[in-house]
Symmetry: C2
DNA sequence: TTGAAAGCGCTAACAC
DNA sequence: GTGTTAGCGCTTTCAA
């Protein structure tokens, strides 16, 4: 029993005026066209009465715009990305845009498919934390004049715009802190794919700082899925081989959480037996047991900067798109998981 | 320097065939139309070469479908909803649909605006956790034949389809558990707006169970925003007036988290001085300090049921939409925050 | 086997 | 002040 949607035509007919007139009024262009206040009221009233809703397809087809932007991340259920999504959603709404969000699970092919799909759906612009191996796809998009902003992860040779944090510096701070606390045998727990910008930079920053103190950390790359079991398998193996580290640098909040679970399960005292520091802070870390030392990323700034960049491109379509990478600072927040207790 | 998008016409022209032919081939209707394998190949090759992407607007305008579904929740950054969003996103993708997600912050007007907007954007269906006061809007949608499934929250008199959990039963279990543990002076921490289905059912379930044990819990409704400060203000007042409860029933994961923060800040021993139980379990609760006793909701089942219902409506458009409410069971997971230690 | 053409609903240039 | 009209890109019916 589907009712037909009401169109401009329906309003025009029932009022005995032209479609164009109705369109003009409903788009607020009555002033510049000199439409009488009377007809304007009639039209507005009728539109209300029939509860007219503009057809987005027709409008989009005509205008070539969807007022929808895409957001692609690895996993929208990860607190880091879901906070970004929420921020961008709010910013977008202010400017009349909606957000269509997709998760890739770090799958390169899937990411390309999603980009294609979203473009077919005529999104006006894209914000993406990419899992690609190189910047080609994004340079292509930029060359086409398609507004795109990368967040979180960057590429050498990228020509499109990008917002990232100071991964290296953050990782170095974490390393320096661990050394200061007397940890000597660190393990870096990263995830695949290892080429990902954030992973690489964080690992390199951490390792290079450790090297300064004549320490060479082990680095392990875990599959993206199923963090808990992967971490457990690894820790188990390390225990068997008597190779347990005395501290862990977790590459993201997921891995850190998994670590905490596993350490607890194996009754490994944190921070006294094994310290833990995480890149990326989430609200829960501050009251976990133990509270987790973490490098906090400026989520609000990332969202705001990225959206601002995108909006600029969305607005002045004439000019060449700009490009450029913006680096945002991070902050090491020291909590219980890296401060050994005096009496153990 | 925007390149023009390539259209069916471009392919047709450069091949010297008709648009219709190209359309047929690209939609895989070449068999039933009896198009020669040769032309088919030509078309496919050309489409590939020009990297043709169908224009979603034109298609949608013609077909009246967007292959996009809407998801409206109060806050996509809340773990409960972000997990649901991720699940539905995955299910949707399998069936060729995308998800456009919006947050309302429990704002009734905003919710209505969003529904209108998404419909204008021609979403094919809607999954929503609503903050409305009554089912009118959704009964209207159903009457119009628009596919909609409510999740998490329901209404008396609702005619549309709905998936909820057994809020009352869960809250009762929580209450019974607290009593069993010897707690005698509970406080219910809920949020506004108080008319929300989940809030109401959880409060009622909890209170009615407590009444059986001759206990009348206090119930406080906090504004939706800024949970931490609201909880702190309240706890502070209770301490001043010497009215601190001996246990708290937090209505959702946000409030529970805020409670934990505040209790810690005030150095109030949990569970010995004040116990804490939460409706809705999130992964972090299991390794917080103390680990939080919580009522776990079947997030996967909620997502799957809701999507399945929606998909059914999306598919057979002919038949009258069904309606009906599905109730899913919950489970009390007992952890440290409600088990008093023997030696305190 | 293929082509022609109508029409989805809307906007904007132009005509009256 | 208001109407007419072309056309955005696509699908689908009918004709050839």
């Amino acid at each position: 029993m589907k009712k037909k949607r009401v169109s401009l035509n329906d309003i025009a007919e029932s009022l005995g005026v032209s479609i164009a007139l109705v369109s003009l009024v409903l788009n607020g262009k009555d002033a510049e066209q000199g439409i009488s206040a009377e007809t304007k009221q009639k039209v507005l009233a009728k539109a209300q009465e029939l509860s007219y809703k503009p057809n987005h397809f027709a409008r989009g087809l005509r205008l070539g715009k969807s007022f929808t932007i895409g957001l692609i991340v690895s996993d929208i259920a990860n607190g880091f990305y879901s906070r970004i999504a929420r921020n961008i959603e709010d910013l977008a709404e202010v400017h009349g845009y909606n957000l269509i969000t997709c998760s890739t699970d770090e799958d390169i092919e899937r990411e390309l498919r999603l980009i294609k799909l979203l473009r077919a759906k005529q999104i006006d612009g894209l914000i993406i934390s990419s899992s690609q191996e190189n910047p080609d796809e994004f340079n292509r998009l930029k060359a086409e004049g398609f507004p795109v902003v990368l967040i979180d992860r960057c590429f050498d040779g990228l020509e499109a715009s990008c917002v990232v944090v100071q991964n290296r510096e953050g990782a170095k701070q974490a390393a320096a802190h661990l050394v200061e606390q007397g940890y000597k045998n660190p393990l870096v727990l990263a995830i695949e794919p290892a080429h990902v910008f954030t992973i690489r930079e964080r690992c390199e920053g951490f390792v290079s700082e450790m090297k300064k103190h004549s320490i060479s950390p082990k680095v392990e790359f875990l599959p993206f899925d199923d963090a808990f079991n992967e971490v457990e398998r690894l820790i188990d193996k390390l225990i068997q081989n008597n190779q347990l580290p005395d501290c862990i640098f977790a590459i993201n909040n997921n891995i850190a959480t998994a670590c905490l679970q596993v350490l607890r399960k194996y009754n490994i005292d944190t921070p006294n037996k094994v310290g833990l520091v995480c890149f990326d802070d989430i609200p829960y870390f501050s009251f976990m047991n133990p509270a987790v030392t973490a490098i906090s990323q400026p989520v609000d700034d990332i969202s705001a900067s990225a959206f601002e960049m995108l909006l600029k491109m969305l607005k002045d379509e004439k000019t060449e798109l700009e490009g450029g990478v913006k680096h945002l600072p991070v902050e090491l927040i020291i909590r219980e998981s890296t401060i050994k207790k005096i009496n153990i």
